[in-house]
Symmetry: C2
Subunit: 226 residues, 2 copies
DNA sequence: CCGTAAATGTCGTCG
DNA sequence: CGACGACGTTTACGG
């Protein structure tokens, strides 16, 4: 990883054109060749960047002390042009390969847990399958209730209006299948906004709030007392 | 801006829980107090971060040379806990305020171009107006076809399912206006996904792919030969 | 590699 | 402050 603090201007020509006037910024060059330009605010987003794979050509017409140009190019022909007036800091550091991030609490995990414990939705529920395919995308969970009627479940971490819309589209399609219809909808999330509840009720979709810790608790062997 | 290269492990507890095992990484502390943790790959996204506003508490129990803890907290109570084993580099740089990015547009430009060249949609089409107002927001373009029937156009750079939903809502409203009904829908984008096409067809909405260069070419004076 | 959905999305704007 | 839509979205996952 190379860290450069420099007075520079930046031009990006690619999916759009963008320009940064001359100012002091951090140039971050990573081991994969990627380049990002950071201002002194906003944690997440660089002002400008080039994602890997890409390559950089550096030129310093007036020698090592003077200004220079970096031209960063990728396969698609997108370009990041960095014009450097002055370099205030330039250091390199070998970090090695990162062991990577372990996440807990995402939607995929919720889906796994609910599929394993489909009885959470009601007694006698049986799983048909996860990621049940339709022409407009997979339904999170398809199952049958105690009466044998089909139920489509959409799972979100946060239940908002667009999730209800998504489930509505699936239900419309699924209900055209004579082998499945009538298909009922269940909207399951850790938290559901009032707006989403109103829309769901209007569409005849029932809402279920999921207790992540409870679902995980039943599943996690380490939490069992016996 | 403060740049720290350190052997560290990181735990995030907030909207989810995440853990990074001990490894060499870049810690980037910006003037707004934000903190991000970068590995030596990927230009855009840090491994972990805390967005501003947030505050950091640093403790070094064994003195300046030894390991330490950074606890970064925000208003919502989310926490980023950084355990530092060793610091290899630590520098501060005053960058000042950035003049900011100038972008040269995408979707707005597409809309202008298509409005100017509404005949792209078919012979005899006439523009009624851009940004035609409705109760739930403006329709990108309203026009009439050769037969004088009303057509609502939704324009996206990338045509996906959300765009079809948006246009559907507009059509529902517009068709309640006795002066306009029947209103037909056209979904126009540089590229349209298969599932968006399926949904559009299902809703009786036609799809048009836009050639940005061709639209611009007709418009751009610099490309004219005479 | 393409298509689709999730994201600690982030970041504007507008009510 | 919350909802909505755009983003050079980026990123992960499945066929």
């Amino acid at each position: 990883m190379r860290l450069v603090i420099a007075r520079c201007s930046v031009d990006y020509v690619g999916r759009l054109t963008a320009h940064l006037p001359m100012a002091l910024r951090l140039l971050l060059v990573k081991a994969d060749g990627s380049v990002s330009v950071h201002a002194d605010d906003r944690a997440y987003k660089p002002l400008n960047w080039m994602s890997p794979p890409c390559s950089t050509r550096e030129t310093y017409p007036d020698g090592a002390g003077g200004g220079g140009h970096w031209t960063v190019t990728n396969k698609a022909g997108e370009q990041l042009l960095i014009t450097i007036e002055e370099i205030l800091h330039d250091s390199r550091h070998d970090l090695g390969v990162d062991p990577g991030l372990r996440k807990d609490g995402v939607e995929a995990h919720l889906q796994e847990l609910l599929a394993e414990q489909i009885g959470t939705l009601g007694d006698g529920y049986r799983l048909v399958r996860r990621e049940y395919p339709t022409a407009i995308g997979p339904v999170d969970i398809l199952c049958r209730d105690a009466a044998g009627l089909t139920v489509a479940v959409e799972i979100k971490r946060r239940g908002e209006i667009d999730g209800v819309e998504q489930l509505t589209r699936y239900l419309e399609l699924l209900n055209r299948d004579p082998l499945l219809t009538p298909v009922r909808g269940v909207f399951a999330a850790q938290a559901i906004t009032p707006q989403a509840r109103v829309l769901a009720a209007d569409r005849g979709i029932s809402c279920v709030t999921l207790d992540y810790d409870a679902l995980r608790g039943v599943d996690d062997p380490s939490s069992r007392l016996f």
